[in-house]
């Protein structure tokens, strides 16, 4: 039940994107930004296509991630909707530093992980699909020389809905241990 609430919250975060977006239909289809990311719950590497809304305060990405079997012996494929909201922006000289937070809803294609469990499981045996997770994140991006560059670097701390539930359930969990670090680059088209 708590995980369902997390996912609903994640969905609600994407709501402002559709409500406040002032783009024509062609604009919806054309990505404003492309990101490439190392680590951070999606896989070894991930590629995202995004749109920015409300004077770039909100952004929404469709992210494809992949972890090849050669790295640690298991293959992970992921498809995510990553929504972020800008908390603070600092402009100094021609540089721009942004702090943002957000949440990704990630679908994983992994061995023995299910959205719908096979028929031999009794109905309700597992109360939630194991392939779907919400991943809260907090991050920062840096775009230098904004007049010339369209390339920004970012880092993010991310965790999982289930990990936060464990934290609130157990006093012995170390909060900082729930988070992982990732970094990447974004290329803005306008």
């Amino acid at each position: 039940m708590i995980r369902i609430m997390f996912l609903l919250l994640a969905g609600m975060l994407s709501l402002p994107v559709s409500v406040f977006a002032q783009k024509n239909h062609a604009g919806y289809l054309r990505p404003d930004v492309v990101e490439i990311q190392y680590a951070g719950n999606y896989g070894l590497m991930s590629l995202g296509l995004g749109q920015e809304f409300c004077k770039d305060i909100l952004s929404s990405y469709l992210v494809l991630g992949y972890l090849p079997k050669a790295v640690n012996g298991v293959e992970v494929k992921s498809l995510a909707v990553k929504n972020t909201i800008q908390m603070k922006q600092f402009d100094f000289r021609n540089n721009r530093l942004q702090l943002y937070t957000g949440v990704s809803v990630i679908y994983y294609k992994v061995h023995n992980t299910y959205t719908r469990f096979p028929k031999y499981f009794p109905k309700g045996y597992y109360d939630f699909p194991t392939s779907l997770h919400a991943a809260p994140l907090i991050g920062s991006s840096f775009l230098w020389n904004t007049t010339k560059n369209k390339l920004a670097f970012f880092w993010e701390f991310a965790t999982l809905d289930y990990y936060l539930i464990n934290y609130f359930k157990n006093r012995s969990m170390n909060f900082l241990n729930l988070w992982n670090l990732s970094f990447g680059m974004t290329l803005h088209f306008n």
Partner: protein, 254 residues
């Protein structure tokens, strides 16, 4: 402040760059083999009464697990701890790590079984890397401890390896069976239960202990005492005493 938080994170974070919760970025550790080696390094008379603590279904109840280990540490006559599986909910590597961090606080060896939840995602592989084989046995103080992986549905609906069980039960030693799924549970219902019942009764098993259904149950099937024990969330564990061919079990709250 952000710099302080960042440096705290770098220091405390055990897994800075995580590729996926379903990745298995850990080295082979053989925790069960190490525990068994540690146990067998101490000479025990076959006439001693052996007391062991059995816990099960720890899932994401890390505080309860930690308290159970603390409580068991205070008892000076327990030789080792057995966990009857379901140490995770989703089979993620982090969950296995969090369990391991708690059992490392035990003063005595801990032997861990796989449960059905631990099979989910890549949990089976994580278990193998962290603990070793999912079915295994060892002898201690004249008893043959047999740990049988009897998970069916999460194991791609495959039959448990009953041939392994048959071969692992000793004809000369007193057998004790540990498994996650009780023989009377829905996963084994039908021919699997019949096979397991038959192997248990034909091989002189003096007692069987299971987890899985999160509550206490005691049945005598074909003359063998069989117990299902509470999950750790009930804040209790089983104290098992072995003396000769007798196994007694009582539930202790902590």
């Amino acid at each position: 402040m952000i710099a302080v938080l960042f440096s705290d994170f770098l220091i405390s974070c055990t897994n800075l760059f995580s590729y996926s919760p379903f990745d298995i970025n850990l080295k082979t550790q053989h925790l069960n083999a190490n525990s068994i080696e540690s146990l067998q390094s101490v000479v025990v008379s076959n006439n001693d009464t052996i007391r062991i603590a059995v816990i099960s279904d720890t899932h994401n109840n890390y505080d309860d697990l930690e308290d159970a280990i603390t409580s068991i540490n205070r008892m000076d006559d327990i030789r080792f701890v057995i966990c009857c599986g379901d140490i995770t909910n989703w089979g993620t590597t982090d969950e296995f790590r969090w369990y391991k961090e708690r059992i490392e606080k035990s003063n005595i060896p801990v032997i861990t079984m796989i449960g059905n939840h631990d099979y989910l995602s890549n949990g089976y592989l994580v278990f193998q890397r962290m603990f070793g084989d999912t079915s295994f046995s060892f002898t201690y103080a004249g008893y043959n401890f047999v740990f049988f992986d009897d998970v069916v549905w999460e194991n791609n609906n495959q039959a448990p390896d009953f041939a392994w069980l048959q071969n692992s039960l000793s004809t000369t030693k007193k057998n004790l069976l540990f498994a996650h799924i009780p023989v009377w549970s829905d996963q084994l219902e039908g021919t699997f239960a019949q096979q397991m019942d038959s192997i248990i009764s034909d091989n002189g098993v003096i007692g069987a202990i299971y987890g899985h259904d999160h509550s206490y149950e005691h049945l005598t099937r074909d003359g063998t005492d069989q117990y299902m024990i509470n999950d750790i969330d009930d804040r209790c564990f089983a104290l098992v005493a072995l003396s000769g061919s007798q196994m007694t079990l009582r539930i202790l709250e902590y």
